[in-house]
Amino acid sequence: MMEKKRVPMREQPVEDRIHNFDEVPLGFSAEEAVAEAKRCLQCANPPCMDHCPVLVDVKKFVNEIAEHRFRDAYETLKTSNPIPSIAGRVCPQENQCEGVCTLGRVGEPINIGKLESFIGDWAMDNDVEEPLDIVERPEKVAVIGSGPSGISCSVDLRKHGYRVTIYEALHKPGGVLQYGIPEFRLPKHIVDRELGYLEKLGVAINLNRIVGLNVSFEEILDEFDAVFVCTGAGAPRFMRIRGEELNGVYSANEFLIRTNLMKAYMFPEEYDTPIVVGRKVAVIGAGNVAMDAARCALRYGAETHLLYRRTRTEAPARAEEFEHAVQEGVIFRELVNPIKINGRDGWVESLDLVRMVLGEPDISGRRRPLPFKGSEFREKFDTVIEAIGTMPNRLFLERAEGLEVNKWGGIQVDENLQTGIPGVFAGGDSISGGATVIQALGEGRTAAQSIHRYLSGKN
């Protein structure tokens, strides 16, 4: 008998969670996970695996959960995804595995994401480790950046036996997982534990090492046999409208770094980094970062408006994040765009906005938003958070001689993720300019294969 409905995911009640930064979904119990896994049809030709950027064998691991073989499920997951607890929480499953799930045609697709994080968490809680048999090799590989693609590349290379050293600019590892994604979506103890796995494997992580500043790219090239550049897309984009110099205007990056990395929500009692959030906040954009920023602003006690120039249909945010944001009281306003930030005494006082209409589709396939002439209006806001995207950080790019940059500001690579410099590969957001965690994980794995080929062919 086919069960059309998902096993419901228990969540922190809205009225509680808007006052804390704790994780919102409470996760499956073992019984719930088994029940959810048993819904799987075990398709003869499962589409889910093909739609996973790292090719997780979904059918197999879900079946193992259904049979209560959690350890086997963990090993299945780990062969293709080094960080299941993280990916299960942040992947846009509705566009990938769950989006093509056969069950989705007649009912709700299997909750693959939550099953994945269930297994990852279960393994952590029970100190389960996959059996490892590393045959050491002499070659040394440098990985620049400790975000998702750096993690997956390091893990795969280390399993091949290479000596891997990660260089991380910040004082904590994890890249966007650490500074970008908030605690209520991805608890940092999960990030720390998943990263602990790297150290168990024997990957060296050098924190506070900023390639281009306190270690030069040339030194890295001299010291290592191959390099993987995965410096992410950590630089904020600004709208470049008038008023961005005002106090009360943040890039989403600043707002989230203060909140997630520096824990400004525990200021001043526990942490020292402050944040200023007004009574009424405008978050510009509708991607995951915009949702994250809006939900943080809400937790700081602000009336929070998400202003988006297109409509809900075009919004790039993950479905769960959008739903959570709206449930929590974020006011989503579509077809509206800021044209100017007005200030008083140096602080944000209001936004000049214009209503938008959707025109013909643009190159992204989404209908192009156009300003509706004469619809300009002014509205009071105290804080403006710009979440309109990020780009690769030029700190590294400007100081890495020989690396070519493409027209989007990302590093130019070939189909094997090799750059113009022999032995130097690149992946993740530093080539794409901003995508998903899982895509970055996938590129990290591809790069590891290319690096392995490069190094083993060399000798």
Binding site: I210, N214, E245, N247, Y250, E269, D272, P274
Partner: protein, 279 residues
């Protein structure tokens, strides 16, 4: 990895003090113009700091007793360790022949930069280095001997006239610009005085640069908190600066942005002082 142990600590005057800390990886690479990010403890802020000297694996910072962190720093003693000293950050200033260079400072970070730059510029043949420091009063003066030793000409001014020239560095600079050919003026300290310095040098057609000390979080180009507008174009103090053409800086915006966290910083300071009173 070094533990960032404090090797020396002393008062410069009643408000400012000096901390020397072991940070070999930073000291080895730091050049004049660059700065460091200091984290006192794991939950602390990432604070950009000017460096006066970097030698023998140690760096020397000048710090003012101002906010919570600098008060807390004040409680650290020789032998204690910091959580992190990260850097060097920012761009190094090209040390080359500029001709007659004037360096002006009237605040703690400026005095540290003043020494760091002059020490390097002074060693280049053909440079005539003039260093000017400003303090409120005689008792506040520090670094005089050190700066004399790395400059060709040195002036100290006090606002109340109790020591050196009466007035501000701007007064000495005005005379210098009137009397002779100056090739480059550099400065760091109070923004409103840097603005005056910029106006004055502009009138004389003399190049001027100022070190900006904007609020930063990561200091690696990620947050955009330290954005300034140079000739209308957005630049980040951390990775594009911290030295900028003073004639192109919008100083009013710079001053305004420095005030963004005044309120919570005041709160933190109060809370900290309170916690020290009733342990």
């Amino acid at each position: 990895m070094s533990k960032f142990r404090i090797t020396e600590k002393s008062d410069l005057n009643s408000q400012d003090y000096l901390i020397e800390v072991e940070a070999p990886q930073v000291a080895e690479r730091l050049r004049p113009g660059q700065f460091v990010v200091l984290m006192t403890h794991e939950k602390g802020e990432r604070i950009p700091m000017s460096v006066q000297k970097a030698e023998d694996g140690r760096i020397t910072m000048f710090i003012m007793r101002l906010g919570k962190t600098s008060l807390e720093l004040n409680d650290y003693q020789v032998g204690d360790s910091f959580y992190q000293v990260i850097g060097p950050m920012g761009n190094a200033f090209p040390i080359q022949r500029y001709g007659t260079v004037v360096w002006c400072s009237d605040l703690v970070c400026g005095h540290a930069e003043n020494y760091a730059y002059c020490e390097a510029l002074h060693r280049v043949e053909g440079n005539h280095v003039i260093s000017i420091q400003t303090f409120p009063t005689k008792d506040d003066v520090y670094s005089e001997e050190e700066l004399r030793s790395v400059s060709d000409e040195y002036y100290v001014t006090t606002i109340d006239g109790s020591y050196g020239v009466k007035g501000h560095y701007i007064d000495v600079l005005r005379n210098l610009l009137r009397e002779r050919k100056i090739d480059l003026v550099l400065g760091c300290g109070e923004i409103k005085m840097l603005k005056e310095m910029a106006d004055l040098t502009r009138q004389h057609g003399v190049q001027a640069r100022s070190v900006l000390r904007q609020i930063m979080v990561d200091a690696t180009g990620m947050c955009g908190a330290c954005r300034v507008f140079i000739d209308g174009a957005m630049k980040l103090t951390c990775i594009d600066g911290p030295l900028f053409d003073a004639h192109k800086v919008n100083f009013d915006e710079v001053i305004n942005r420095l005030g963004m966290f005044k309120k919570p910083e005041g709160m933190a300071k109060e809370a900290y002082l309170q916690s020290r009173e009733d342990p």
